[in-house]
Amino acid sequence: MSTVLTTPSVRRLRALARAELSLLGRNRGVVVTALLVPLLLPFSMRPALDHVDLEKQGISVGAAMLTAGIGFSFLFAVYSALVNAYVARREELVLKRLRTGELTDTEILTGTALPTLTLGFAQALVLCAACVALLGAGAPKAPYLSLLGLVAGLVLSAALAALTATVTRTVESGQVTALPVVFGSMIGSGIMVPTEVMPEPLASVCELLPLSPAIRLVRGGWTGQLSAYEALGALATALAWTVVAVVAVRRWFRWEPRR
């Protein structure tokens, strides 16, 4: 990973990310999903949240919707968009062609992910501002935890996308292979319903899902309810998933279409 920091590496990443940004802008379907879903979907959950006793858990409606929005951003702006990008580039033989040049494998996957990661990050900032201004989410109690959660969530979404791409043959089948992560995370990782209001032992199991620690850190940083012990636990879980995903991608990622 140290090579990523050297100057030619930065130049290569910038060149690749710039091309990938143009491609993202030209894929209308992906852009609409990535931009609108994370901003609109949380509002559709608003009535459902009224039935859950959030106040008892010390979570404001604003904070709940904020984490929902950021979670949807992980899933739609980053994860789904990137599954699409990785599979499309592989099927067009772009990944194979890039590997004939000076880019390292890590640079190819990172450079391709940079535009969507930036989009996800910007979206999270917009969501934070909107929820504070319009829904009274209040200022975050431990902003560094929310930021850590945000970064962990973005990195994991990209790694999961690369992993999903290894088992996806075509862009069309990507709409199916991405479903387990999308639905599993929406329901189990505390995006739609905070894991705090789930019964035990379901909550403990759900907290081990890949995106759960990121969501937990974002929300906990905002409400200030996370103890140092819980925060460290969430970080360790996020780190473990990242290591697993990176190792799996290095081992199984396919650079060429199956023929």
């Binding site: 090579t3 030619p8 130049r11 290569r12 910038r14 060149a15 690749l16 710039r18 091309a19 143009s22 491609l23 030209r26 894929n27 499309a88 580039r89 067009e92 033989l93 772009v94 990944l95 194979k96 062609r97 890039l98 590997r99 004939t100 040049g101 000076e102 880019l103 390292t104």
Partner: protein, 314 residues
Amino acid sequence: MNIDGHEHVIEVTDLRRVYGGGFEAVRGISFSVARGEIFALLGTNGAGKTSTVELLEGLAAPAGGRIRVLGHDPFRERAAVRPRTGVMLQEGGFPAELTVAETARMWAGCTTGARPEAEVLDRVGLADKHGVRVKQLSGGERRRLDLALALLGDPEVLFLDEPTTGLDAEGRRDTWTLVRALRDQGTTVLLTTHYLEEAEHLADRLAILHEGRIAASGTPAEVTAGRPSRMSFELPPGYFPGDLPPLAALGVCDHEYDGRTVRLRTRELQRTATAVLTWAERAGVELGALDVRSASLEEAFLGIAREREEVTAA
């Protein structure tokens, strides 16, 4: 450096490649390419050309044997080799939605010491296509874009996998001229082709691949040496091959007759042709569709395929 003073830029020793299903595409081949040489890998589809070139490009690790490109293992020592090589895959891999200029700019950003993009696009005849999306290019234009990107970094070694497939006759000639100019500047070129004419025109040396093995190699002259020449003509009605002078005595090793056309393969073309034409002159016979040609790469190529089949059949 080796003993005869030429620096071998590419050295391949007993190379093997086996695919996941157990198919052995490359079965122990060895060759070397000197600096500033154009070397062609020739073969039918499925002979193992692309499988070999991909190993030389460092895209996969060989199942056995050894490769050195500029003194390094192209797979393990990727970072040392890539800045000095240019690669054109058999099928270009460029995002359909990027323009020609955007594609070149992206590739230039990923290449050490890249030439100005406009200069390289101009060199392959794409100067007026900068704003065109890749998906709107013709097959030949895509091949030329691919070639332009392979040339961007002024490579010492150029790998071209079927560089002229899909090009029209003019585009093919242009590419040949460009490749020769690069060789004259000292670039080492390894190309694959199934066009015999291309290998004959371009290659300083070549190897004919057949079923994953090298069936023949050397300069085009060396490969065709010892191969029989060909003569063919049509006999007018009422004449038969039996009327011709005794063929075996003229060095003819093989002949065919389909009721009209006689096809001879001979090791002594001048004697055979003289005898047949003298006979026709004396007999007052007009030979139709007369064709006389010395041994070509095509003859060598077909001969190798035929001999292998006979070996397999026996």
